[in-house]
Symmetry: C2
DNA sequence: ACGAACCGTAAGCTACGACTTACCAAGCCG
DNA sequence: CGGCTTGGTAAGTCGTAGCTTACGGTTCGT
């Protein structure tokens, strides 16, 4: 379940979420700290963080009353793997097209 | 030229668009051909292709009355570069956190 | 040259997602 | 122990992205 919402690309599709993700990537950040650097309210940041966490892109850690978020290397690795796959298929298709230049296989 | 952002991620955020992108990645495809393999109409595919093309992820080539689309390696490379940057920053932040054990940045 | 096939664009409707305010739970500090 | 701070959740509003049908332009085939 939550299968559709668990994809990193879908999560990073939103520019605000991407901004949050980039801020978190620079180091562990608390929710209020993020909200202070963004033009949106704290609950909005919380919701975005929930989506990012659900997508496996960030992890959270409770420290006192604050909650520190940091990027999850596994999530980023998954995205890289996906792009590598597409990249590979595109290159293979291109190579095949170069070989079969003369005519079209019908 | 620098006008279009790296919203390649934004473009791939939509699952339908991602499906189109993956189909195109397997080789040059025409619009009607894509529409035939998808549960949406041909105009919808056209609109998605426009977004992908605007994001620099695909390129189009007019062949007779058909229009072949294929992936743009530069677009994929840009996405990979972005992820690499985030990855690098995350690793640097983690290394810094390990070295500077008990402090936290403002 | 006429018809058919392919594609892009316009206009419009619907649905989802992003944001806000309000409220409540949990942990620190006086 | 009481107040203050921090965060997550609920309910509601509003914008916009995505899809459809309808139309016009362009090219190939006969």
């Amino acid at each position: 379940m939550a299968t559709y919402r668990t994809d990193g690309l879908g999560a990073l599709g939103d520019p605000t979420r991407r901004a949050i993700f980039e801020l978190v990537a620079t180091g562990p950040k608390a929710v209020g700290e993020l909200a202070r650097e963004l033009p949106i309210s704290r609950p909005a940041v919380s919701q975005h963080l929930k989506v990012l966490k659900d997508a496996g892109l960030v992890v959270d850690e409770a420290v006192g009353t604050r909650r520190l978020y940091r990027v999850d290397p596994n999530g980023v690795a998954a995205l890289r793997a996906y792009l590598d796959l597409v990249w590979d298929r595109a290159l293979a298709a291109f190579a095949a097209a170069v070989e079969n230049t003369p005519e079209e296989p019908s």
